[in-house]
């Protein structure tokens, strides 16, 4: 996969293409859609967000229309403008191993439209954690690889197992890349409001940087670095430790034009 510029709009944060209203598509290497699951998901009950200067905690819970409705939207042309303007990455997940496979099966006829499929194994806001059972995970990685003839990316988090070991497993199963890292489970208390969700923002950078460093030293996978990339210097640091592309997420909430500024430096 060749991304020019090597900048990805992160899944979840970027929604279903809405940021094209605020970002010039010339500066987007690839746009990752919100994670699609087999069944529609309402997501978690509000409150879903809390933000401070250093971090954001979200508890969206993979709200999405489900794969059948998504395919209907795709076939009805809802995302034509997005496909016309940028490369698109499809992100998917399941509430168990079987559902990952079912989503993949349904998407096979449409796989050529996407530059890659990103398999979200690490959402901290759902009950199922596929990374905690590596033998099952391995079986699924192999099954998904057999089904899908696309550039396959595993989105890994740091919870469940050492991320470099997981990345080695991903490579061993014939996958092409990893997105490192996802948000991490966290809790925020503000008066009577308690938000249990995944933490993101600048606070994640040292953790994500170490993860990318370790995975680059152990694998030849394509690495999309994700976690605390807020400006050009942050992006530079991730490229220095071996990232092939950087994923911009929470920084979009502070300033969507950050994508253009980073892109101009690394085009």
């Amino acid at each position: 996969m060749e991304l020019r510029p090597p900048i990805v709009i992160a899944s979840g944060v970027g929604g279903m293409g809405e940021y094209l209203k605020l970002i010039d598509p010339r500066y987007i290497g690839a746009y990752t859609l919100k994670t699609i699951t087999f069944k529609p998901r309402l997501g978690n009950p509000p409150p879903r967000l809390i933000a401070t200067e250093r971090y954001l905690i979200n508890s969206i819970g993979l709200e999405n229309v489900g794969v059948e409705k998504f395919i209907e939207e795709l076939e009805n042309g809802l995302y034509e403008e997005l496909f016309r303007k940028v490369k698109v990455i499809f992100s998917f997940a399941g509430e168990d191993f079987e559902e990952y496979l079912k989503v993949a099966e349904r998407m096979v006829p449409h796989q050529d439209r996407f530059v890659a499929f990103e398999c979200n194994f690490s959402c901290p806001n759902v009950d199922f954690n596929p990374l905690s059972d590596t033998s099952q995970l391995k079986k699924m990685l192999i099954e998904l690889r057999k089904k899908l003839d696309v550039f396959l990316i595993a989105k890994l988090g740091i919870e469940g197992a050492f991320i470099e070991q997981l990345a080695e497993l991903v490579e061993e199963c014939g996958w092409n890349g990893v997105t490192i890292i996802n948000t991490i489970r966290a809790l925020h208390i503000d008066g009577e409001t308690l938000i249990k969700g995944g933490i993101s923002g600048p606070i994640l950078k040292p953790i994500a940087l170490r993860a990318v460093y370790e995975v680059r030293n152990r694998t030849n996978l394509y690495i999309i670095a994700s976690g605390g990339i807020m400006d050009e210097t942050d992006a530079q640091h991730f490229f220095e430790v071996g990232a092939n592309a950087v994923s911009i997420g929470t920084a979009l909430y502070r300033d969507p034009t950050i994508v253009e500024r980073i892109a101009k430096r690394f085009l």
Binding site: L49, T52, R54, R254, P256
Partner: protein, 218 residues
């Protein structure tokens, strides 16, 4: 919808903690639409309802923390918008009940629609404002009881104030409420500003910010 920079024209102090900021730029917007403004103290931009004051684009800001203090201090602000659905009232005469920080929105609404405006405030304003103002909780509740003969109400303020107004007015006419769920993107991407309604989840940045009160509280 676009990114833009706003340059401050005037800062008008309404009382000890509430300000109107007017800007030199012009933006087309509909009533209750808002912009997301960048601050130095939060990782996300913050929503502020758009309005007019002294023939200029304006927002009202109640300073409650470092983010809102930053907004009234800065000469230039980065923002994007306008966001949200514009409020279109039903036919007939209406009334807007709002806090002091909503003066620019109220002023704009009254210019466009047949409506009266009533302001509830904890303190007396320091300047003369062109709407009736009631100061203190008791006077505010009494004022709500006296509101009759309207076809609709629009309430914009704090969560607590909005619920009080809804309960007081729901049997008199349709009550519309501008809700205050936390936002991150303001454009429908993140799904953070979800609100549970009797018609399912709504996202305030694209389905709102104004919803019918009965959708949420009945």
């Amino acid at each position: 919808m676009e990114n833009f920079s706003l340059s401050r024209c005037e800062l008008i102090r309404l009382n000890r903690d509430t300000f109107i900021v007017t800007f030199n730029e012009k933006i087309d917007f509909e009533p209750t639409q808002f912009i997301m403004i960048e601050t130095e103290t939060s990782i996300v931009r913050k929503p502020f309802g758009l309005g007019r004051w002294n023939d200029r684009l304006a927002i009202g800001v109640q300073v409650i923390g470092p983010g809102t203090a930053y907004i009234v201090r800065q000469e230039k602000l980065n923002a994007h918008g306008p966001c949200g659905k514009g409020f279109v009232p039903p036919k007939g005469r209406g009334a807007m009940i709002a806090t002091l920080a909503c003066l620019p929105m109220a002023f704009d609404l009254q210019e466009r629609y047949d409506c009266d405006v009533f302001i509830g405030s904890v303190d007396e304003p320091w300047i003369e404002v062109p709407f009736p103002i009631v100061v203190g909780d008791e006077a505010f509740l009494k004022m709500l009881q006296s509101l009759n003969g309207y076809d609709w109400f629009l309430v914009i303020g704090s969560d607590q104030m909005e619920k009080i107004v809804y309960d007081a007015l729901k049997d008199k006419a349709e009550v519309f409420v501008s809700f205050n769920e936390y936002m991150a993107c303001g454009i429908g991407a993140c799904r953070g500003c979800a609100k549970v309604t009797k018609h399912g989840l709504k996202h305030l940045c694209i389905d709102g910010p104004v919803l019918r009160g009965e959708e949420v509280w009945s």
